[in-house]
Symmetry: C3
Subunit: 508 residues, 3 copies
C-alpha cells in the first residue's frame, strides 16, 4: 500500500495546489481599519463579515496594479496614498480623506463619513467613476426633480387623497413618501440637517443626521456634490463584480411595468439560459469571455462589461457610461427617441416648451439628441457583443425589427396623444395649464406610453416576446386605445352606433 501510482500523486498535488492557490496570503489591514473592526465586529457584525469575504479585504492596490491591464479591476495608474499595501477596509473608504465634507464627523478620534460616494471610489477606480458621471443614471435625481412635468406626474402618482364634500382633495406627497417611491431608485438629495446623540454599547455618541437617508438610488445627490452611488449595483460591503453582473442587480429598479427590462430578459432565451444553466458560469472572470465564462449575456454583458474572445481579443471595453452601446432611449420620455446627448435631461426643451425630447405629437427636439453617426457607432458597439454568438444575418434581422417596433409604438403613441387632445377639447379632462396627469382619461394616456409602449419596445430589444404581446404588451396597448376612443364623444368604431360600453355611455 506504500506504492502510490504516479497519476494519483500528480492528481493529489494538483488538488493541493488548487487549494493553495485559493488562499493567497491575505494582506494586513491598516491600523485605522483595525481600530474600526475592534468595535464593529460586535456592532455591525454582518457588515464586517460581508466585507471580509470581499476582494477589497483580500487584496491591495499594489497587487491589483501588478495584474495585466485586461485583468485589472482598478483604473488608477498608481496607488492612492497609504493604500498601496493594505487591504481596502473600513477606514480606507469611511475615514475622510481630502477636502472636509458636509457630514464628516468625529467618531472616536477619526473623522468619519457615513456616506461613501463615487468620489471616494474614484481614488482607485477613476475611469469607472468618470464614465458613470457621464451616464444618464448618475443624473436620475435631477432628471426627475428638475423636470416640472415629470415631477407633476410623480406628485400625482404619490399624492395623498381625502374625500371631502363629495370630492377628492389631493395633497402632494410628503418627504418620506417621495423618498421611498420615485426617489428610491432615482436617488434622494442627501443633506445634513443636524446631529443626534445615540446611546451605543460604548456610551453616548453623536452622529450626523441626513434628510433623504437611507437611500441607495443610482442618482443620489451626495453631501460632496457627487452624483450617484456605486452600491446599487455593487452592494455594500462586498462590492462584488459578480453580483453586479447578475441580472438581479438591475431588477431592483428595472422590473416594474414602466421599465420591464428584467422581466423581458427572463422570458428571453438569454434569461432562460442564465436561469437554467447559469450555475456553472464564472461570473467573476476578468475579462469576461463569451461562451467560456458565460453562455448567454446578462444585462452587464451587453451594456457594461469588458467582453473578450477566448484568445483575449477585446470585443467591447468596459464602460460605466452605459449608454455607450445604446443608440436609442426606449423608455422614460413619452416617445422613444435617439439617446439624449447630455446625461442631464432636465435641460431639454422641445418645440412646445416642454421639458421633453419630443413634443406630445412626437416631433423630436433633435438638437438635444445624438445624431445619426453617433447612433450608428453605438449600435455597432452593441452588435459586436451580439456577434460573439450570432451571425450577422441574425443580428441584422433582430435590429430591423427593433427599429420597426420603435416606429410603430411611436405612431401608436401619436394616436393616444391625439385622443388625449381631443378629450381635453370635449371636456373629458382638463388639459394644460391644469395638470395632465390627474384624471382617469389622462391616466389611460400615461399607461399607453409608460407601460404598454415601453414593454413592447423592451420585448423587441431583448427578444422577450411574451412581454410584447399579452403581458402589458400589444394586447393591452390596443385595448387601451380602443377604450380611449370609446370614451370620446362621437369616437364611434366600425359599428356606427358606438362600439362598446364606454362608447355607448360617452355617446349618449
Amino acid at each position: 500500500m506504500r506504492h502510490i501510482s504516479l497519476a494519483a500523486l500528480v492528481a493529489c498535488l494538483a488538488l493541493v495546489a488548487a487549494f493553495a492557490g485559493a488562499s493567497e496570503e491575505p494582506p494586513g489591514t491598516s491600523e485605522a481599519t483595525g481600530d474600526c473592526l475592534m468595535c464593529h465586529r460586535q456592532v455591525t457584525p454582518a457588515a464586517v463579515a460581508d466585507w471580509e469575504k470581499s476582494a477589497h479585504a483580500k487584496t491591495t492596490m499594489s497587487r491589483a496594479l501588478g495584474k495585466k491591464k485586461i485583468e485589472s479591476k482598478v483604473s488608477a495608474d498608481v496607488a492612492p496614498e497609504k493604500l498601496g499595501e493594505v487591504s481596502v477596509g473600513c477606514a480606507e473608504c469611511h475615514v475622510a480623506g481630502g477636502e472636509p465634507r458636509k457630514g464628516d464627523f468625529d467618531h472616536n478620534g477619526f473623522s468619519v463619513r457615513l456616506v461613501v460616494t463615487p468620489a471616494d471610489c474614484a481614488r482607485c477606480h477613476p475611469a469607472e467613476a468618470d464614465e458613470y458621471s457621464m451616464n444618464i443614471m448618475s443624473r436620475a435625481h435631477g432628471n426627475l426633480a428638475n423636470n416640472p412635468l415629470y415631477m407633476d406626474l410623480a406628485n400625482n402618482i404619490n399624492a395623498t387623497m381625502a374625500f371631502e364634500d363629495g370630492k377628492l382633495k389631493t395633497k402632494p406627497p410628503n418627504g418620506p413618501t417621495s423618498a421611498e417611491s420615485c426617489f428610491s431608485c432615482h436617488g434622494t438629495a442627501l443633506t445634513v440637517t443636524g446631529s443626534a446623540t445615540r446611546d451605543t454599547d460604548l456610551g453616548e455618541m453623536e452622529f450626523p443626521v441626513f434628510s433623504g437617508w437611507p437611500n441607495d438610488g443610482v442618482g443620489r445627490v451626495n453631501p460632496d456634490g457627487s452624483m450617484g452611488s456605486c452600491s446599487p449595483c455593487h452592494p455594500r460591503h462586498a462590492f462584488s463584480m459578480a453580483q453586479a453582473r447578475s441580472p438581479y442587480a438591475c431588477a431592483n429598479c428595472h422590473k416594474g411595468p414602466d421599465v420591464p427590462a428584467f422581466k423581458v430578459y427572463m422570458v428571453s432565451k438569454h434569461g432562460a439560459l442564465y436561469s437554467g444553466s447559469g450555475d456553472g458560469w464564472d461570473m467573476a472572470a476578468v475579462p469576461w469571455t463569451a461562451g467560456e465564462d458565460f453562455t448567454a449575456p446578462t444585462c452587464a454583458a451587453c451594456h457594461i462589461s469588458l467582453v473578450a474572445k477566448g484568445d483575449g481579443e477585446v470585443v467591447q471595453k468596459r464602460t460605466h457610461r452605459m449608454n455607450d452601446r445604446l443608440s436609442l432611449r426606449l423608455f422614460g420620455p413619452v416617445y422613444a427617441v435617439p439617446h439624449p446627448k447630455s446625461p442631464d435631461t432636465s435641460a431639454i426643451v422641445n418645440k412646445d416648451g416642454q421639458p421633453l425630447p419630443a413634443t406630445l405629437g412626437g416631433e423630436l427636439a433633435s438638437e438635444h439628441l445624438i445624431g445619426r453617426d453617433e447612433m450608428k457607432k453605438r449600435r455597432a458597439a452593441m452588435r459586436s457583443v451580439c456577434q460573439s454568438c450570432h451571425g450577422e444575418g441574425w443580428v441584422g434581422g433582430h435590429f430591423e425589427r427593433l427599429d420597426n417596433t420603435v416606429a410603430e409604438t411611436n405612431d401608436s403613441t401619436r394616436a393616444a396623444s391625439a385622443m388625449l387632445g381631443e378629450g381635453w377639447k370635449q371636456g373629458l379632462a382638463a388639459g394644460p395649464p391644469a395638470s395632465i396627469f390627474d384624471e382617469p382619461f389622462e391616466r389611460m394616456w400615461v399607461e399607453h406610453w409608460l407601460f404598454y409602449a415601453n414593454s413592447v419596445r423592451f420585448a423587441s430589444a431583448m427578444a422577450g416576446a411574451d412581454y410584447g404581446v399579452f403581458a402589458d404588451g400589444r394586447f393591452q396597448m390596443t385595448s387601451n386605445l380602443l377604450r380611449m376612443e370609446a370614451a370620446l364623444v362621437g369616437g364611434a368604431g366600425k359599428s356606427g352606433d358606438g362600439g362598446g360600453r364606454e362608447k355607448k355611455a360617452g355617446g349618449q
Copy 2:
C-alpha cells in the same frame, strides 16, 4: 516520486477528513420503518428517496440531544419513547402513537395515520409546535371560515355565474373550488368521510377518505384537532430547514397582489443579493450567522430564524410565532392595524359590529390589538436583526418611512371607503345588508385596500420600491381613487364639468 511534501500530505488528509466527516455512520431505522420501506421503496419511491437525503434519516434524537443547545434543531429535553436511537423514519411519524385519532387505520398490521400533524412533530419539536399554535397562520382556516364578512368576499370571488334572463345568476362555489382557491393556503378542514378500497400492487386495501384532501395549508384543521401543518414550509419528506429559509418557501402563498411579500423581496436589495449571490450561502447552518452564512436576509432571517453574531451571541432567538417580530398587521384587514392580540381573529368585533379590527371608517378595535409597549418590543426585535448589517440611522429612517406609509395608505383607504359609502347612497351599488363585494364599484374598493394599499405597504416595509409605485402601487392606487370619484354623480374633479370618461357618463 515517493517523496510527497508535508503540505501535500496534510492537505490530502484534510480532504479525506472532510469527506469522512460528511458521511457519519447513518443510524439504523426502527423495525417498523423497515417494514414500511419494504413496500414503499417500490410504491412511492421518490418519497422514500427524498426522506433518505433528509436530516431525519441521518440522525437520531440521541445525537440531536447531544448537540450544543444553540446548534440544536430539536426542543424536546428528552427523546420520546422508542425514538432515541433510530432514525426518524416512516413509522416514527405515520404509525399512530398516543391517543387513537380519527383517520387512523389498519395497514398491514400497523395503525397508520396518513395526515401527520404539528402534534406529531411536537414530540421532538415541542417549542416550535407550541409557538406555531400561537402564530396567526395556524388559525388561517378559521380566521377566514368563521369570519362571515370575509367568507362573503371569498364566496363572491369564487362564485359560479350563469347569464340567464338578462342577468347574472350567482351560485356560491362548491367544495372543490373553495379547497383549491382560498383554503389552499388558509388550509382546509380535514374530516374523515368514509373509507375506500383500492387495488394496490399488494392486493386490495382499505384507506380512509378525507374531505378537504389533499391540502397543505398553513392553517389546516387536522383530524386530531390541531391546526396547521409543518410541511407548507418544510416540505415532505425532507422537511428541510434550508428549504424553509429559502424565500421560495414563502412565495407559495405570499406572491399574489393581495400579499406580494415575495415579489417585493425580489425587487429589494436583499432579494437581489440572495438571487445573484446566494449560491455560496450556507442555508442550513444553525445558528444562522449574518454576514458569514448569509449576506442578506431571506424571509426567515427577519421573521423566524435563530440569528447569531460571529462570536455566537444571539441576535434573535428562533420563533415560530412569526408575529413576535411584527408590531403591525400590514395586510389582511381593510386597514393596517397594530397586530391582533390573539391568533384567532374571527372573534374580533369592531364598533360597527363587523368582524374587522377597524371600522370601515378606520377606527381601531383597540381592545383586540396589541398596545404601544408590545408594539415597541416587537419593533425592537425586528430592528435588532436589521442592525446586524445596518447602522441605527439607516434602520431608524427605514421605519419612520414605514410608519408614514402606514398612516398615508390608511388615509387613502379612508377616502376609498367614504366614496364607497357615497356610492351606496347614490345607488351605484347596493350596500349592507346586501353583499358589499358583488358589484363593480365595490370591487374597485376591494382592489384599493387588498391590492394597492397592501402592495405599497409591503414595498415600504421591505424596501422594494418598484412594487410601491408602478406595480400595483401608488400609480394604481391613485388611478383607482380617481376612477371611483369619476363614477360618483357630482364627484367632479378639478375641471368642473366632469373630469374624465366615467365622470362624464356618471354626471349626465
Copy 3:
C-alpha cells in the same frame, strides 16, 4: 511522514479516479468541422465555446450507441454515415447532407445550411423528431396562421392605429411586428428571399436571406418543409438536456397571462422546491430518477422525460409528443376541451362553422377530439408520474378538483359568451360578420377566457393556488363578468336600480 494511512490513500485514489472519469478522452472532430472551427473560433467565438462544452463535442455516435438503452439519448439504431467516430460538430449539422434544400449555399467550398431543422437532428434522434412532429407544438405556426378567427385576433392585437377624423384607423401589423409577437413563439415561416453579399474578416461572401429570420419558435416552418425547431428548448450550441429540463426553458413562451404555466409552477410547492433546493439536483441524469436525481418535478418531468424509479423500473418513457400525458387542452381555445386528435388544429370546424373545437356556446366538436378511453389512458400516464411521490388518495383528489375547475370555468365562459351575444344585440359592439375582437366589450370577453379562465385552470392543474385567486384568477374573472353585466342595458344586478358605475351609465 511517509506513513500514510490506508483510508487516506484510498480516499485520495477515489478522488483521482473521480477526476479521471470526468475527463474521458474527447473524440476528434471531423475534418470538415475542423475547417469550420479555424475561422469560427474567431468569427463566432462564443458559439464555438458553447459547443465545446456540449455533449455533442464530447462524444460520438459509436459511444452513444454503446450505452444501455435506458441511459441513451439517441434513438437511431446505427450511426449515420460518417458520424460514428467523430464528435457532432459544426459540419455534422450545418454541412448539407442528403437532398439539397432551399437555402443551402456554397461557403468556402462547403454546401452549408444556416437553418438546422428537426430533420437534421433526426439522423441521430429519429424517435424524438418523429414524436415532436405529432406534437401540437410543431404545428404552432399553421395552427395560428391557418385559423382565420385566431389570425383576426392576432391582427387586432398587433394592429397599428392612427387617430384620424375623430376615429381610430386600424392597419394590420406588418411582417416584422407579426414575426416578433405571436410568431416569435409560434414560429415564422422561413423562406429564402434572395441573397446578400457581406464584408467579412475573410473578404466578401454571399449569404442567403430568409424572410422570418431570426426565429426560434416551436412551430417554425423550415426551408426543408419540416416543422418546428429543437433549439427553443435545447438552445444552441450546447443543446443541453439539463437546460431543457429547467422550467425556465418553458418560460420563454409559457409565462404570459394567456398561458401562465411557468408562473403557476413557481407558486406551487414543486416550484418552491426547485427554486429553493434544486441546486443539488442532477438535471442531466438519464434515466431521471424521481427522489434521487430530483425532489420535485419540473415541467419536463411531468410532460416529457423518461422518469424511472431507483431500481431502474420505468415510470414513464420519454416522449416528445408532449400531449401523450395530457387528456385535456386547457388553454388556446375559448373553452377547455378534450385534447384534439390531430396536432393540426386549423382543420377543426365546429357546428357553427368556426375553426374552434367548441362553439361559442361551448358545444364540443367531438369528432376532432380524443375520446374517453384515450383521455383515461393519458390521465393514467400523468398520474403514474405523480404517484412517484404522492399516494393515490392525494392524486385522485387533485384530479377531481381539476375536472371540477374545468367544468366551472367552462360554465363561466358560457356566461361571458352569452353576455357577448347580448351585447351584440344591444349594439354595444358589432358582432359577426364584423370582427369579434376589435371593440372594448369584446376585449372583455377575450380577457375572460384567454387570461382568467386559463389562469384558473393552470392554477388547478399545477397546484399553484395564487394564480387561481388574485393573480389573473377568480377575483379578476368574476369582476370581469360583473363589469360585462353592468355594461349591458338592463343587466341590473341584485340592487334593482343598476348595480355599479357602468350599469348606471348603461341603464340611463
